[in-house]
């Protein structure tokens, strides 16, 4: 008997499971974005299609300066997170004993059981003028009087690094964990020194993990609101705050939507460039 192949047979189980996902994607993500996109091309003053909102972005320096600043700082934070995470991930996967590995992972995960807000408040308690660190430093005589450690760019960057570190470490550990230790030994045996082993073996091997970690961290930092708002000073304006201000304070939905789309465009562009530069495929990175 010949088996008949039926290409058009509907797989009901697939449809049943796919419908909620499709609905979720469409109703909560695609539809609102389409509506925002429409709004961004309207203006309360005039009727019909207008580019006023986008024009405002390019003509007002405060807008596009914040925009550039946010982008640059996000890249900077991503770079710092990467530089710290690589050795940490390497230590956890290759140096620590199996028992310690688990403990270290828990130590990294535990702070993330608490909400971001609480974590940032924790930093504020530590760093503010009447905070723990100031009291300690005054007591041992380093400072004569307390100094405001909060509300500047350095503190803000530190806060952003702290809140996004996990999302870099986990994907890198995923890739490094599957790496055969013999690769490192082989490189050593073939004459490579420590720096060459990192440059030629470990980093190229870990690249998919590094890229997916970088994408996540970059997006998180670029779109973060709480940390820059609470830890950054008056001058450390983040672009998300601009969007918030437009929509919530000025009630200018049209302008806010335009900003939102510009941010989306920016993040997609930077990620695309980064993938091209490092010669990584998006498909491999998101695996």
């Amino acid at each position: 008997m010949m088996m008949k192949y039926k290409p058009n047979k509907i797989r009901w189980s697939f449809v049943i499971f796919f419908i909620p996902v499709a609905l979720w994607l469409f109703l909560l993500i695609v539809l609102p974005h389409l509506e925002l996109l429409r709004i961004s091309f309207t203006s309360s003053g005039t009727n019909g299609f207008t580019l006023t909102n986008y024009k405002a972005f390019f003509t007002e320096p405060i807008y596009w300066l914040t925009f550039v600043r946010t982008a640059l700082y996000s890249m900077f934070v991503t770079a710092i997170v990467l530089v710290i995470s690589l050795p940490v991930a390497f230590y956890i996967t290759k140096v620590a004993s199996i028992k310690t590995q688990g403990l270290l992972m828990v130590l990294i995960l535990v702070p993330f059981w608490v909400s971001e807000l609480i974590r940032v408040y924790g930093w504020m308690i530590l760093l503010r003028e009447s905070g723990v660190l100031n009291q300690f430093l005054v007591k041992i005589g380093v400072f004569k009087q307390p100094i405001e450690l909060l509300y500047n760019d350095i503190t803000m960057i530190m806060g952003l690094v702290y809140t996004s570190m996990l999302f870099m470490i986990v994907p890198i550990i995923g890739v490094l964990g599957s790496m055969d230790d013999a690769l490192i030994e082989a490189a050593h045996d073939l004459g490579a020194k420590k720096i060459a082993i990192w440059k030629e073996i470990i980093i190229p091997y870990t690249m998919p993990g590094i890229m997916s970690g970088s994408i996540i961290v970059f997006m998180l930092v670029l779109g973060s609101y709480l940390t820059p708002k609470l830890m950054g000073g008056k001058n450390s304006l983040w672009f998300t705050e601009q969007i918030y201000n437009q929509i919530i304070i000025y009630f200018n939905w049209e302008q806010g939507s335009a900003f939102g789309f510009l941010l989306l465009l920016l993040s997609s562009l930077i990620i695309w460039i980064a993938l091209k530069v490092t010669k990584q495929e998006f498909r491999k990175v998101i695996k």
Binding site: A186, A187, D189, L190, A192, K193, P204
Partner: protein
């Protein structure tokens, strides 16, 4: 003859456990030297000490007369072919082989020439631009060997590199590897648990057990004159008889089995009258239905339990009468014994000269051994 590798009193301890125990040996330049032993005998530890990944607890290690202690793996004139090859997956074949040369600071045309030369030598010309995952098992093997050989090491170390291959390819690679070694003339130190690999390829084989060498000899001598019960069991197939030694009035020794049979022994052994011996007779030393045997031949009646047909390597499984013991007898495929069927009664016999006797070793090599 120049000595490529010289080891004296080498010892490695991990806590209380002694992995390598006071080893002393020399490897001559240009030889294929194998270290053969069961897993856990310390052979990998020994290899890693030679490569420089482990620091010896005691002893010295010289390569071409140069003391190697305290020298990092990247500075030693030895290279290692890893058990799972450890080819760099993010590089192509050419880059893998060129890796070591580039670390030495060699550049451009010189690197190209050496790599292409090496690829030709291992029979993979034109494979340079291929990705590692496009290669077959045997090709990966050759790339791994090429990657190490291109650096022209004084000693090439190989850590069971054929272990992951399927049986047919392994047979083929054994011969390839031997031919390659003869062609390049580099000293190979090869570790394996497969006695056939060691025998086929090596000039010298060291049989290792519990951190020490039981015997270091040519493959032929290992096979015909094993130095200990362990070597007799580990190298080649052997029938083991648990026997007691008996001395008759004339001072001649006999081996007595549990069932009461007495076997003549060769006079050449320096045997003491004591209990608990292992007597070994090779399957091919046992003759089926011997016609006009020498008077000292040991001849017993046995029942054929099964015919283990395996082409040129066919054997008979027989049980001596009135016992439960099993003896493996080589069954030559020259049609002479085609009449033998299972459950037949046959006579088997062997020359006492072909049997060897050792003090009993209680340690089992394999867990399922009786």
């Amino acid at each position: 003859m120049q000595i490529a590798l010289s080891v004296k009193g080498l010892t490695k301890q991990f806590g209380d456990f002694t992995a390598v125990n006071n080893l002393t040996f020399d490897v001559e330049d240009g030889k294929f030297f194998s270290i053969l032993g069961p897993s856990g005998c310390g052979k990998t530890t020994l290899l890693r000490m030679i490569a420089g990944f482990y620091k010896p607890t005691n002893g010295t290690l010289e390569i071409q007369g140069r003391d190697m202690l305290g020298i990092e793996p990247n500075k030693r004139p030895v290279n290692l072919v890893f058990q799972h090859l450890a080819l760099f997956p993010m590089m192509n074949v050419f880059e893998n082989i060129a890796f070591g040369l580039k670390r030495r600071g060699e550049k451009g045309e010189a690197v190209n020439k050496k790599v292409n030369n090496m690829l030709e030598r291992v029979g993979l010309p034109e494979s340079g631009p291929k990705k590692i995952n496009q290669l077959s098992g045997g090709q990966k093997q050759r790339v791994a060997i090429a990657r190490a050989l291109v650096l022209e090491p004084t000693v090439l170390l190989l850590d069971e590199p054929l272990g992951a291959l399927d049986a047919k390819l392994r047979e083929h690679m054994k011969v390839e590897l031997k031919k390659l070694q003869v062609k390049v003339g580099t000293t190979f130190v090869y570790i394996t648990h497969d006695q056939s690999e060691a025998m086929v390829m090596s000039d010298y084989v060291a049989v290792m057990n519990a951190g020490q060498f039981e015997q270091l000899d040519t493959p032929q001598n290992l096979y015909s004159n094993p130095a200990s019960s362990f070597v007799a069991q580990f190298v080649g197939n052997n029938n083991k008889f648990r026997v007691d030694l008996k001395k008759d009035e004339s001072g001649k020794f006999f081996a007595a089995t549990k069932s009461g049979d007495l076997y003549t022994l060769s006079d050449s052994f320096n045997l003491q009258n004591s209990d608990f011996f292992d007597m070994f007779v090779r399957p091919e030393a046992i003759i089926i239905n011997p016609s006009n045997p020498k008077p000292e031949f040991n001849i017993i009646n046995a029942d054929v339990k099964a015919i283990l047909f395996d082409g040129g390597n066919s054997r008979l499984l027989v049980t001596p009468e009135k016992t439960e013991d099993e003896i493996i007898v080589a069954l030559p495929q020259n049609r002479q014994f085609d009449h033998i069927k299972a459950k037949d009664s046959i006579k088997i016999g062997w020359d006492p000269e072909a049997a060897v006797c050792f003090n009993r070793m209680e340690k089992r090599i394999y867990d399922d051994e009786i």
